[in-house]
Amino acid sequence: MTKLKLLTKGIIKDNPTFALVLGMCPTLGTTTSAINGMGMGVATLFVLILSNMVVSAVARFIPDKVRIPSYIVIISAFVTIVQLLIQAYIPSLYDTLGLFIPLIVVNCIVLGRAEAFANKHNVIDSALDGIGIGLGFTLSLTVIGLVREILGSGSAFGWKFMEPYGMLIFVLAPGAFLVLGYLMVLFKKLTTKKA
């Protein structure tokens, strides 16, 4: 696999949201607007890159039996660091993402990549994989957030173009499920047609 492919496969082929169906909770919970989705995506991206790199670096030394606890410790350390940083420097984002930042720890994507990729590959590849998957995640979340924002509040990235006509439901829980469901179908259709 070329380095470029490593980087791009997370966007379409192994898109964590639409193709792998991982990390559904933050996907649904934080995409009330494009910005929020992007914020969550970027936070996850950071954790993903760092944890992928570290895991791939130390995987050799970790016995099987303590593999999961070790990975969890590594991941949660990074999550906490990201959390502290956001809290310190972007407090408004911290407020909107709320509970979901610590929950990156249990986001199946992060642990999943550590398990499925990082512990079998070298640091560089793992970093690229982290970036690719993280970007894919960020992209999906942004798209979902964008669709929900447009339909729900009549604005895009905060730009209000038809504000009073938003369909509230898309900002609320049901809309999250519906948008994700239909986008997934769209994604399936688009990608299978290409293949």
Binding site: F61, I62, S70, V73, L85, N119, G152, L172
Partner: protein, 204 residues
């Protein structure tokens, strides 16, 4: 390729990972503790400065607790050259989606509401969250410069003077309740003579 799961290996690896990670964490905490505290403080200070007339002290250091009906409320005193100019009172009425943590500022001079601000809430986006809106002509604007003594602090549906947000009467009502609670706190505070300077606010 992974190391063998022997006792020492396991303890050593997990132990050292924990060691390194926790060290990292501790350092990160050390680094960010200051900014976080500042950010938190800034948030409160922001709101305080928003709801009271300009001051030159540090209201977040100048806090009194006031008890009304068995609950303690936090009051920040804002003063200008040692003269109290405003009270920022923190209250948390229950809205539609849970507590609305808000702050109501009173002008020490005339007892009018100076302004109001919402610190945090979990009202429905698009409906109840309009209580937090900062835009011109929003719900909260009604309270600016209002004198609670001469206005009925309840929504119109309940026979008061406040126009509720459409389809969010519950949030509006909660917010209004918050304001009137703050007013009670204010009255207690002023009436008890705790404040350094008693303003010309109407006393009943």
């Amino acid at each position: 390729m992974a190391a063998k799961s022997t006792f020492t290996n396991m303890v050593l690896s997990l132990g050292s990972i924990c060691l390194v990670c926790s060290a990292l964490l501790g350092i990160a905490n050390n680094v960010t503790a200051e900014p976080i505290a500042q950010a938190t403080l800034a948030k409160i200070n922001d709101k305080i400065s928003y709801v009271v007339p300009s001051y030159d002290n540090n209201p977040s250091d100048n806090v009194t607790m006031v008890e009304v009906d068995g609950t303690e409320y936090k009051v920040y005193l804002a003063s200008m050259s040692d003269k109290v100019v405003g009270y920022a009172i923190e209250v948390a009425p229950t809205g539609f989606g849970g507590p609305i943590s808000m702050i109501v500022g009173f002008d020490a001079e005339n007892g009018n509401i100076y302004n109001t601000a919402v610190i945090s809430h979990s009202e429905t986006p698009g409906l109840g969250d309009k209580i937090a809106s900062n835009e011109q002509g929003s719900f909260r604007d009604q309270f600016i410069e209002m004198n609670p003594a001469s206005n009925k602090l309840s929504v119109r549906k309940d026979g008061g003077d406040i126009d509720a947000i459409t389809a969010a009467t519950i949030s509006s009502r909660a917010f209004t309740v918050g304001v009137s609670t703050a007013y009670k706190v204010y009255l207690t505070l002023v009436g008890s003579g705790d404040a350094d300077v008693v303003s010309g606010a109407s006393k009943k």
